[in-house]
């Protein structure tokens, strides 16, 4: 009996000791709350939850959406987006465009320094743009219209285009317009993405891959009175429910995503603000026009007409997405409500299309989709929507890397793959439907669409461009190489202890104004 008691006592004491240290009154790593001051000197720390680990903090090499959440605070852009979605000066203070649309002259901000002390000037801009034009940069294609860059003064730069390209200024408000320090790039070489240097409100301090990224206030930041927080710590949570729990526990004060099923309860919870606004992105299904059965136009049309987007969005997204019928959602400058509203599902029309397509009793096909529970749920709902017409949709779950390969190789019949969206409408449509373009995985080709998309690129007036896109979309929706499903919202949430947040339609958390 004594031995047994001893065993139990030892177990209990070890467990208690372990618990005791855990309960000890030391300040814990995640229980701290920010100290906010609106004073001249930045102070306190803000902890921000990110839904993925940003792979590359170099704007020239970045291809993941989440990179931008951190980069927007490390770098300034040549132009920036205002709260109403208009272009505003940032590092470029003004610009002129030649009448033929072939020459852009940018005036640059004076007195700005990179965080390593390198002066920001026209030479730095030339260095950055030329770096982005290298083939290995994902920025390469968006800057391919630039044929020459001339530095005509210390703060004046001239961009010569090979053909008119109206999306250029919007492109320069995105990652291609983020300016990195030429000195740091030359010094660090390939290591720059792990030790980035920009002109933004925060400097890079440290990162542990998969865990956190630390930034500190840039003492030389050119906007007076900003930033307010001295330190920013990004914490990585790959599960959105866990990310939300960490907001509720106080471990972070701001999160970049909220699971759809939690949005309404968070909106009701006092102490938090939820931002739920349309994003630039869209999700949908590629139908491979070069692979049976979707070589058949009628069968593609049947699918495009049989999916009830409102039902899908209502069932899954609970107000965090809107039905889509074009690439241009409510946040896009090219948005036209009537053009983006899917037609009501008409069973007679669908049966007629199936009959015309030679498959009156339906047919079967396989759709490739990603493995997340959300993607699978969407696929299953679509599967059930097609079933009444005898259309049997099989679901093939694949990891993202494999899907990217299959989409590029045309190795699929149907594939659910969307786009995170960009500031300029051109970047949300051109590459998807222009013959032979990189994102045209459906292998769709229609000379009329190509001509319209080129015409839009050469037109600077957005109202005119809108009309051109509407014409192109009418043809594209008729040809149905892609089934637009929905536009996801940017859903952010933050503790009410944080003040000064300004929502910009790109959904990025700009820390400089926060206190």
């Amino acid at each position: 009996m004594a031995v047994r008691k001893q065993l139990i006592a030892t177990t209990a004491s070890v467990l208690l000791a372990l618990a005791g240290t855990a309960f000890a009154a030391s300040p814990s790593l995640a229980m701290s709350h920010p100290v906010a001051h609106r004073s001249a000197a930045p102070s306190g720390t803000i902890d921000i939850g990110l839904s993925a680990d940003p792979p590359k903090l170099d704007p020239s090499l970045s291809s993941a959406l989440v990179d931008r959440q951190v980069m927007i605070n490390l770098y300034d852009t040549l132009f920036q987006l205002s709260a109403t979605g208009m272009l505003e000066p940032d590092l470029a203070t003004g610009y002129t465009v030649s009448k033929d649309g072939m020459t852009y002259t940018l005036q640059l901000r004076k007195g700005v320094m990179f965080q390593d002390g390198t002066p920001f000037n026209a030479a730095a801009v030339k260095f950055n743009l030329e770096r982005d034009q290298l083939k290995i940069s994902p920025r390469h294609s968006s800057l391919s219209a630039i044929s020459g860059i001339d530095v005509t003064g210390p703060y004046t730069i001239v961009l010569h285009l090979s053909k008119p390209f109206s999306p250029l200024l919007n492109v320069l408000a995105g990652r291609a317009g983020m300016m990195v320090s030429p000195t740091a790039v030359k010094k660090e070489g390939a290591g720059f993405l792990n030790d980035p240097v920009g002109t933004g409100p925060y400097e890079f301090v440290k990162r542990v891959v998969g865990s956190y990224i630390d930034l500190k206030a840039n003492p030389h930041y050119w906007v007076k009175g900003e930033p307010h927080f001295e330190n920013v710590e990004y914490k990585i949570f790959t599960d959105p429910n866990v990310e939300l729990l960490n907001l509720q526990s106080g471990a972070v004060q701001f999160i970049d995503t909220v699971p759809p099923q939690q949005v309404s309860s968070m909106e009701m919870t006092s102490g938090y603000t939820v931002i739920n606004k349309p994003s630039f992105g869209y999700q949908g299904i590629y139908l491979n026009v070069k692979a049976a059965p979707f070589t058949n136009l009628f069968l593609r049309e049947a699918i495009n007409n049989a999916v009830n987007r409102s039902l899908l969005v209502g069932a899954i997204f609970r107000g965090t997405a809107v039905p889509a019928y074009s690439p241009f959602g409510p946040a896009s400058p090219a948005y036209v409500k009537s053009e983006d509203t899917p037609p009501a599902v008409n069973p007679t029309l669908i049966r007629k299309l199936l009959k015309e397509g030679g498959k009156p009793k339906g047919f079967s096909f396989t759709m490739q989709t990603a493995t997340s529970p959300l993607d699978v749920q969407i696929a299953e709902i679509i599967q059930s929507m097609l079933k009444p017409y005898g259309i049997q949709m099989n679901i093939d779950q694949l990891d993202f890397g494999t899907m990217l390969n299959n989409s590029a190789d045309g190795n699929f019949t149907a594939m659910a793959l969307g786009w995170s969206g960009r500031l300029d409408p051109d970047q949300d449509i051109y590459s998807f439907f222009y013959s032979g373009a990189p994102l045209n995985s459906s292998q769709y080709s229609n000379p009329k669409v190509d001509a319209l998309l080129n015409q839009a690129r050469e037109t600077s007036d957005m109202a005119v461009r809108k009309a051109i896109y509407a014409k192109a979309m009418a043809i594209i929706n008729h040809d149905s190489p892609y089934v637009f499903l929905y536009h996801p919202n940017n859903v952010l949430a933050y503790s009410n202890s944080i003040k000064g947040f300004v929502y910009i339609p790109d959904g990025l958390i700009r820390v400089a104004t926060l206190s």
């Binding site: 031995v3 467990l15 291809s63 865990s211």
Partner: protein, 317 residues
Amino acid sequence: MLTFITRRILLTIPVLFLISVIVFSLLHLIPGDPARVILGQDATPAALQALRVQLGLTRPLWLQYVLWIGGVFHGNLGNSLQTGLPVAMLIGQALPVTVELAIGTIIVSGLIAIPLGIYAAVHKGRLADLITVFGASIGLSIPPFWLGIMLLLLFTVHFHLFPSSGFVPFFQNPIQNLQSMFLPVVATAVREAAVLLRMMRASLVEVLGADFIRTARAKGIVWRVVVVRHAVRNALVPVLTQSGLQVAGLLGGLVITETIFSLPGFGSLLVNSIFSRDYTIIQGSALVAALLVVGVNLVTDLCYGLIDPRIRMGKGA
């Protein structure tokens, strides 16, 4: 003993070599292209090709392998294709997290399972036994991810007793380290303890029915001494084997716990690298994981001798 250890260590060399060849070949068989994952959806063929050349992926496979394994012999596991960071450094950051979690899990589950298993076996068929076995069944049926979320909700959101995320290395701040590891360890240990408990109970029940126990009792040895000195030592061997297997399994199988508690561990590093087709990290991690499993097995074998002197590790073993 020394010969045994030396032989086992020498045996690991062909094992590791084989594993490196298998992992390398399998990696290149799975669909997916690192260049495409790095450059994203809208990469042009020219950009993809330029990046493949830069990453050395256009070289013949055998040459890629030889270059990589040559680096390994010089202690260089290469650099991550995604971030360019040294693989050895990334593994060095991630491994201690998972090793601590695995060891903590085994210690805590052992501390729960062994005494309770002994208690249940000794009281076989009685109410205490039934309650313990029932408890173990519940422990087995609770998924660690659910338990993790519940623990987070209770101890971090409702009662701010523990941090909900973040990892502090032990040598940087032992107290914060234990704070951050407590809930993850509990979340995984419950299930592991249930497995061990059932194993301990079954093994001890069997030993307690053996002839030598009856003999020992007949000789007039006190019951608790019979249990502790004769029965438990014998019954621990399969439990130890199980623990060894559990540690080996945990080293790569803690991804879910790591995700829920936001711990930058080895499992997460490996899984993320597979998704991003970061070949060099996968290769390095597989090698290190194999080394660890071989090491854990060696330690388990050595422990047998400590518990049961009949299992000799000397000459001829």
